[in-house]
Homo-oligomer: 210 residues x 3
């Protein structure tokens, strides 16, 4: 579907920006920025496609490669001391998460997965690229940072889309609304420092990364 490909490319672009920004913060050169952006943007989708059992779109449709190239170029030419700010990385990461957890669920449903597995794969697609980014950049994954809610909006978005399956095939409107909810939830949770409970008697820690 055309709108699915478009949303996918936009998601790859946003995640790739987050990877390239982290690369710049880490002092990587332009090639490292392209590589980390590509891994972040394309990684979640490759995992998704391998689990579904179809050829990964990143390789089957080379147009996907344009997104990380554009992202790395943009970060390279536009950043002036941007590495001192963590906000842009968080915003682009949130946009990638919103698109991938919803489109990942759609792809899984279209491949015939049951709604529970589809929602799980949507979450995996959403958090996979960022997890790979943080693991290879050797920092504590944002996913596990107890000071912010990262997986919760992904769960919500994937569940909304999988739930829409019971009424009708998810369409562009459903997916767009679900993605907007995920993005809004994520940004608001960062802005107002929403938290979730820890195990009893456990020490609380601040931001794991930065």
């Amino acid at each position: 579907m055309n709108w699915a490909l478009t949303l996918d490319l936009v998601g790859v672009f946003f995640f790739a920006i987050s990877g390239s920004l982290l690369a710049v913060q880490r002092g990587y050169d332009i090639v490292g920025s392209l590589l980390l952006g590509s891994l972040t943007g394309l990684g979640g989708g490759v995992i998704r496609d391998l689990i579904i059992g179809v050829p990964p779109t990143a390789f089957a449709e080379p147009v996907h490669l344009a997104a990380p190239v554009a992202a790395a170029a943009l970060v390279f030419f536009l950043t002036h001391g941007i590495e001192r700010y963590s906000r842009p990385l968080l915003i682009f990461d949130a946009a990638g998460l919103a698109l991938f957890c919803t489109t990942g669920t759609v792809k899984a449903l279209e491949a015939g997965m049951n709604p529970v597995a589809a929602a799980l794969l949507g979450v995996t697609t959403g958090v996979g690229g960022g997890l790979l980014r943080d693991v290879v950049a050797n920092r504590d994954p944002q996913l596990f940072n107890s000071s912010d809610l990262y997986a919760v909006p992904a769960f919500i978005g994937a569940t909304v889309v999988a739930g829409a399956w019971f009424t009708a095939l998810p369409n562009l409107a459903t997916v767009t609304i679900a993605a907007a909810v995920v993005f809004a939830f994520r940004v608001l949770s960062l802005r107002f420092r929403w938290r979730i409970p820890h195990a009893k008697g456990q020490p609380r820690r601040g931001r794991a990364s930065e």
Copy 2:
């Protein structure tokens, strides 16, 4: 097979406990605990199924998701300062290793792999979940800790099961005995600090993790 599914679920549960416990020790919240438990419990099996070339059971059979959910809930409600002790994590990890290296070998043999490849895949399944757990939690993998024997019992268990292939299809009794041997070997090696040799002239290091 029913007993194979049961052993698989028990293995997922044990590994998920180890992941959720590590998450608590690391100060992750309940969602992080569920995610790290799921990755630890389901990761080895997903790698196994991707290499065999079948749909990952974690997604094909959603009952697998119940195990990490139960593990995260158990760890959340029962831990009182448990994060100070590393022993429970080691015991649950050993039980998961024992079950996965043996059932992983069985699945590979049933899929038509030759015994050598099946044993290798059994070891990969056994150590894969714990390796993913340690890598994403950004700690030195237990697998490479030269102060304890982690891969050796997995090799033994996988080899015993693959060897049983030459006499008859591995059955519940064979797998249970092999898993018990792996678990006993692992626990005894920890208790009595068994070691294996280093390269000549190499500095010996203590526990890499903790």
Copy 3:
């Protein structure tokens, strides 16, 4: 093809040496050395085969396992304080990179991928094993070290091989020449400290690892 298998095994051997050497430097025991060597030598090829959609050769053709075993034995018996030197690791790593980025591209082309995707998969195959090695050994990946050129020679080698596709099927001569170019480029870039530009105003950092 026979020469393809031979080059593949040689590549596995070289990368496995680099993994086993790093394991010795890290104080791992002989089993850890075998495991890290296996992961480094076989990891890139497993990723390549999963993306192509064929059974990973590391499991389908057990002769591949001989290479990491030989590498771990060699490193175990021959190292006398070798862990103090980083040069041998870099040389063996460069040889593995040269072989894998070229043979990976050939395998992708033979599987019917378009040249762009094939070159990307060649780069992925070339850098994949070393990236897995550095990630599980919990060090900053060499791939992202802005003080040396690692991905650039892989891009060049994969592009040369994919370009040869337009004239004729890449053969042993093409692949050997491309691999030699990659190896020479990599070694010369280390010797003469070639660099590539950073984003504007970004702090430059020295060697990320060691």
